[in-house]
């Protein structure tokens, strides 16, 4: 079943891979696919410099530095309350950090403007689904392209050529994203009535439809069954491979993250305690302590 699911995307991925390959050869770079991707030291898609954030007296983030290279899948893990979601909210402009700088591509911000996020090529999903429940799946995905709309409401009522073209293009892109995530069967249903795992996929489709440079996934695997987790992980990897999207994901399930990510950063009590490829992180003593609760009393969560 899962093999069937991935088979549909292979053609697209293969084409993409060939294109990247060609580009790489043209640039004279060595064609060592995976290591090249991880070691890509060009301009990072996302860079955080000394981000600090506190709520009242509670420190959520403390001098976080993070650099995410183009095309990598970067996981940020940590126990509950480690500051993962706060970090993502800083990047997506929902929180203003007390200190530090966020760099998205070539632009630097002390407070990322959330309203311009889509225009900056950043899309995100939310920890507890943030679908538009009263819209059909197709319309939800079309919403992902709203930032590209140029026609105002008068043009839309009059259905001018611009408005019509935008609508057609948006629907075509949405159909493609829906096919990519195997949502064809439910595309005319209201999003609110679908099973949780499917809704997660719809949210992924809505984020992907705009072909973002950077995709932020807030606990994409939380609350879904083990089978769905594997499937979602495949979809996330396919998204990167097919669209070249850089992905930052938050998770506290280490198991799934290790297989999926190129690099992993670990947060604990608002500080970054480790950062590296999965194998390094897995054997890092500080990480083990954080997860097994050796360093901090009362933190008995064990999620493997």
């Amino acid at each position: 079943m899962r093999v069937m699911a991935t088979a549909g995307n292979e053609a697209l991925i293969a084409t993409r891979a060939r294109a990247t390959e060609a580009a790489r050869q043209a640039g004279g770079a060595p064609a060592a696919a995976d290591s090249a991707r991880v070691a890509d030291t060009g301009v990072p898609v996302l860079a955080l410099q000394g981000i600090s954030l506190s709520f009242g007296g509670v420190t959520a983030l403390e001098r976080i530095d993070l650099s995410v290279a183009k095309g990598e899948i970067r996981a940020i893990i940590g126990p509950n309350g480690a500051g993962k979601s706060s970090l993502l909210n800083v990047v997506s402009g929902l929180y203003r950090p007390d200190q530090g700088m966020v760099r998205l591509g070539s632009e630097r911000f002390t407070h990322v403007p959330a309203v311009r996020l889509a225009a900056l090529g950043v899309a995100r999903t939310f920890q507890n689904l943030a679908l538009f429940k009263g819209l059909r799946v197709l319309d939800n995905v079309v919403m992902g392209l709203v930032a590209r709309r140029r026609s105002g409401f008068v043009r839309q009522i009059l259905s001018t050529p611009l408005a019509r073209r935008e609508e057609i293009e948006a629907c075509a892109a949405a159909e493609e994203a829906i096919a990519f995530l195997h949502l064809d069967a439910v595309k005319h249903q209201l999003a609110g009535g679908l099973p949780y795992g499917i809704q997660k996929r719809v949210e992924l489709a809505r984020a992907l439809v705009a072909r973002p440079q950077l995709l932020l996934l807030d606990e994409p695997f939380a609350g879904v069954t083990v089978g769905e987790k594997q499937e979602l992980a495949t979809h996330v990897r396919n998204a990167r491979d097919a669209y070249g999207t850089t992905i930052v994901l938050i998770e506290h399930d280490i198991g799934i993250v290790m297989g999926l990510s190129d690099r992993v950063a670990v947060l604990d009590y608002g500080r970054k305690i480790a950062d590296g490829v999965p194998a390094e992180v897995r054997s890092d003593q500080a990480v083990i302590d954080a997860y097994l609760g050796v360093a901090h009393e009362g933190e008995t969560e064990l999620v493997i």
Binding site: L94, V115, A118, G134, V142, M143, V146, S151, I157, A170
Partner: protein, 353 residues
Amino acid sequence: MTTLARSAVSRGITPGRVGLVAMLIAAYGLVPFVGSDYVLDALLTPFLALALAALGLNLLTGYAGLVSLGSSAFLAVGAYAAFNCNVRLQELPLLASIVAAGLVAAAVGIVFGLPSLRLRGFYLAVSTLAAQFFVQWALTKFGWFSNNNPSGVIDAPALTLSGLTFSSAVGRYVVSLTVVVVATLLAARLLRSQVGRNFIALRDHEIAAKVIGVPLLRTKLLAFGVSSFLIGIAGVLWAFAYLRTVEPAGFNLDRSFEILFIIIIGGPASIRGAFLGAAFMVVLPLLLSRLGAALLGDVFDSGVLEMSQRIVIGALIAGILIAEPRGLISLVDRLADRIRHRLSRPLRNPTQP
């Protein structure tokens, strides 16, 4: 060829479209000839005006999720704006007055929609009460609005369109019907476009809508503007085609609540729901008075009627909010589905379209 394609492509849509066209044909071709002046004057014309007002509020509250208790104020703004256009710009044709009244109402609506940028839900609803009280006060206080009538009463002019007069019950019904049909088609079109999606996105998840790039400020004010535009036009119909003499006190909070109840009963976020709810609201007092007179005889006077009407509506709203939050229209839809299901099984052969 086209009919073939259509019947094949839109099997699901066809019954709705056919129903709509049939209703329009009946509304234009049958009702004006069959309906008595009483039916046209006391039932259909107020139904049309209320339905349009409810549709306007539904855009704002049902679709965009912004609750307003100021609908009656926008009705008043529309009515008084059209009156002033008519009195002060004599050469302005009626249609232009109606559109201008809608635009004035939209402008007022946008101003009173500004708090929505900060307030939400219950607090926003309360802030829209400001519109309700302010407009009613201004229309009574400043004689200019009513052309210096001491009690703010305005008398509607005769409805004339390019030389033709529509002052009879039939004429006023046809004018109302035409205005409501055009306005409804435009609203339906807007709701099907990206703007309509933005409204629902705003309602269902404001933060996700913001992050995805929905211009919140513009969308909220647009919702207030379009909603008030439609309600303003409904106000013109209410004053010019239905009552013909209105005073500011007629546009009180009760009316705002009535329009809100229409969309709760009929079905929020549904165009048909607004019409169904309005029909219900117009017919209910009649049914009650007939029923009351039959059961209780003379005891059932107009005072009792009004009280019983409130009790029934109150009970109904509580019941609907609990049992069927999507309103009467979803009951109707389910019933229609069941009937269609039952009919389509034996009648599968293609003779029946």
